[in-house]
Amino acid sequence: MTPVMPSDFDPRNAEPEDFTSPGLPKDVANTSGRLPLGDPEQIPDPANVDVPTDLREEIQTVVDKYPDRDHKGSPKSAAIPVLWVIQRRYGWCTPEGIVQAATVMQVTPAYLESVASFYDLLRTSPQGDHQVLVCTNIACWMRGGDELLDAFCEKTGADREAAGHGGGLSADGKVLVSGFECLGACDLAPMASVNERYFGPLENADASTIVDQLEAGEEVLPEKSLDRRGLAGGVAESSDPRVVDGKGPNR
């Protein structure tokens, strides 16, 4: 005889015994662990979460930039920029910050958490006051990116193994050193991104200078900064007669 579930059976109110079939040995999976223990995580109630007014306004401005603001349900397009806002404010994507963002966006904190954990630049653990990302991808590796990362680890005391796998903090917890995949500046190889600005080409000795400057609150290596550099390659303008400013058959 096949056991038939009563039509009013509600798994959420069921007892462990309700999941065992008569005449069959008790299935451990049914009696422990897999029982629905309650409702899935809820969207936070704005009445229960304290969100600073300026943060709420900042998040709302970001959400309003996207066309899905008018969509039914929760507009989610702003998830990444909102997490950037949280990271800028608290230093990293803190659980409290994520709950505050989820309250304003009206999504579950778990949703934002899942997005934050996917992306390398959004940190779900403390990342110190300064971030040094050293490119160790092909072009930088050929020109000594690994040795540069070693030099940063040696100077700051960050664990080399951790730095090669997602990032390690300096001994005082103030500087995050991380080996990173191609940062899109192979012309500067070997290079590093220090607090989101690019510097290169760096020598191993520069690692020590950079860390000292960061700790002293000084400007980092201005002469090696990308925004002070000319065009990569820097060969003069061409003399091709076909390339003329603002002229053409239709202009």
């Binding site: 930039k65 996207y66 066309p67 899905d68 969509h71 507009p75 989610k76 397009s77 702003a78 998830a79 990444i80 920029p81 997490l83 950037w84 899942s114 997005v115 996917f118 992306y119 390398d120 630049l121 959004l122 990302l133 160790t136 991808n137 092909i138 072009a139 590796w141 050929m142 020109r143 995949e181 191609c182 940062l183 899109g184 500046a185 192979c186 012309d187 190889a189 991104s193 989101e196 600005r197 690019y198 990308l226 925004d227 065009l231 990569a232 390659g233 820097g234 060969v235 303008e237 061409s238 091709d240 076909r242 390339v243 400013d245 603002g246 002229k247 053409g248 058959p249 239709n250 202009r251």
Partner: protein
């Protein structure tokens, strides 16, 4: 043309997109306008029929500069001519190892991109445009933000642009560090605020993309070309480059060369002119052994192929691809197996994990290459590496796995001797290293030597006599 060392000196750049890029004013609206910027847009909105623009783009033969090389005009023409909400996404998630051209284009000349996007949106009847820029390009995202604000203030964006009745909203969306978001459908997911996982195609984004609406996705360099084509016409554009690869291309040359950098050339110039002429060739006393012609996803080429023209069709014929136009040069100081390992490590890290062949294939390829570089592999493992690559290619939703499989299998195929030599060398080093004892649980072999050690010795080319007389 060339001196005694085979280096060319007379090759010149052909700068269309990078014209006046040295001038810091070019990054501002005022500077851009002083060089004739936004004139084409004004004319286009008032006098030109959108259909004419679509035709002209198609006629020009402009091919996508992001990697796939698909005709931009065709892509625009695929968008349905309906009143539905349509979207334009500029793919500025330049994360391909070796590529840094979009960074330069956005930093030096953001308005050229914005103007191209407005004209493309006008031609295709698009009301919302996005620039998806990778999270690492913080400086460039700020520059774009400022440029978009300037364009709004000048009335080039927003409602009823220049009194034409055409509306366009533009948002600069900063990603957060994931190579996969450069794949067009993963980019759409990231824009919708999700984890960046690629989608099944079809439906293609031109039919069903962002928020389910028809979506045009193009690379920064492709969109930067649009205003020039509309200004000067398709025939002018076709006067550059080759028949199948018209136009100019900003080529990023990096790795072991004297002058790494971005060089804008007509498509079809020889690789030798690019690598030896513009980028200055290898460092003194070094020789080039291999190079990626189109970013780390492209199968490597050897110096024997140095005289090929740099165009989409010639690279495809040579069994590689032009991709995003990024040349990474390796010289004789670079170990090819370690370069393969570095490449595989990148793709293992960046695989989103959705499709099994890519998630597992990149992982195992990295592990096997680690064994090669530690001398723990056998030549048979090289065949297994190749067969793993064959099993990745074409078996996933997107081409991230293929992007590892192509260069790795090309390296194993073209440099097999070097892989075998590395295995033997490293095995010999491990054998010679002091303190190498037979591990716990390792079979000591008939004469007390473990089979592993005997195997390593044989690989290193030495005779092994075992006590058991086997």
């Amino acid at each position: 043309m060339s001196d005694a060392n085979g280096r060319h000196s007379s090759i010149e750049e052909t700068r269309v997109l990078l014209r006046h890029a040295e001038d810091p004013k070019m990054a501002t609206l005022e500077g851009y306008r002083s060089y004739g910027g936004y004139k084409v847009l004004e004319k286009a909105l008032k006098e030109i029929d959108p259909e004419w623009i679509v035709n002209e783009l198609e006629e020009s033969g402009l091919r996508g500069r992001g990697g796939a090389g698909f005709s931009m005009g065709k892509k625009v023409s695929f968008l349905p001519r309906t009143e539905d909400a349509k979207y334009l996404c500029c793919n500025a998630d330049e994360s391909e190892p070796g590529a840094f051209k979009d960074r330069e284009l956005m930093q030096r000349n953001p308005h050229q991109l914005i103007e191209g996007m407005i004209i493309s949106s006008f031609a295709a009847g698009i009301g919302h445009a996005f620039i998806f820029i990778r999270g690492e390009y913080d400086d460039q995202a700020d520059i774009l933000d400022r440029a978009v604000d300037e364009a709004y203030e000048a009335g080039y964006l927003g409602r009823n642009i220049l009194g034409s009745g055409f509306d366009l909203e533009m948002v600069v969306h900063r990603g957060a560090g994931a190579y996969i978001c450069g794949e067009e459908t993963a980019l759409l997911d990231a824009l919708e605020g999700k984890r960046g996982n690629p989608r099944l195609k079809p439906p293609f984004p031109a039919v069903q993309g962002l928020y389910g609406g028809p979506t045009l996705i193009n690379n920064v360099e492709t969109l930067s070309n649009v205003s020039h084509i509309v200004a000067n016409g398709a025939d002018w554009f076709k006067s550059f480059g080759t028949e199948q690869s018209p136009g100019t291309k900003v080529v990023s040359v990096s790795g072991c060369v004297k002058r790494p950098g971005n060089y804008e050339v007509e498509l079809g110039v020889s690789l030798r002119d690019l690598i030896y002429g513009l980028a200055g060739g290898p460092l003194d006393g070094r020789e080039i052994t291999a190079f990626y012609p189109g970013g780390s996803s492209s199968p490597v080429l050897t110096p024997a192929e140095m005289d090929l023209p740099y165009s989409f069709e010639a690279m495809a014929e040579a069994g590689s691809m032009l991709g995003s136009g990024s040349i990474i040069v390796a010289d004789d100081s670079v170990s090819i197996p370690r370069m393969a390992l570095r490449t595989a490590k990148f793709y293992r890290h960046e695989s989103c994990g959705k499709c099994t062949p890519c998630r597992e294939g990149t992982n195992w390829t990295e592990k096997m290459l680690q064994r090669v570089c530690a001398g723990e592999a056998t030549p048979m493992d090289l065949d297994i590496i190749s067969s793993v690559q064959d099993n990745i290619m074409g078996h996933c939703l997107c081409v991230l796995g293929d992007a590892m499989a192509m260069p790795v299998s090309s390296m194993v195929h073209k440099f097999r001797d070097e892989f075998e030599a590395t295995i033997a060398e490293e095995a010999a080093k491990a054998w010679a290293s002091p303190g190498r004892d037979v591990q716990d649980g390792e079979d000591p072999g008939p004469g007390g030597e473990s089979p592993e050690l005997i195997r390593r010795e044989r690989l290193a080319g030495r005779e092994v006599t075992t006590g058991g007389g086997s």
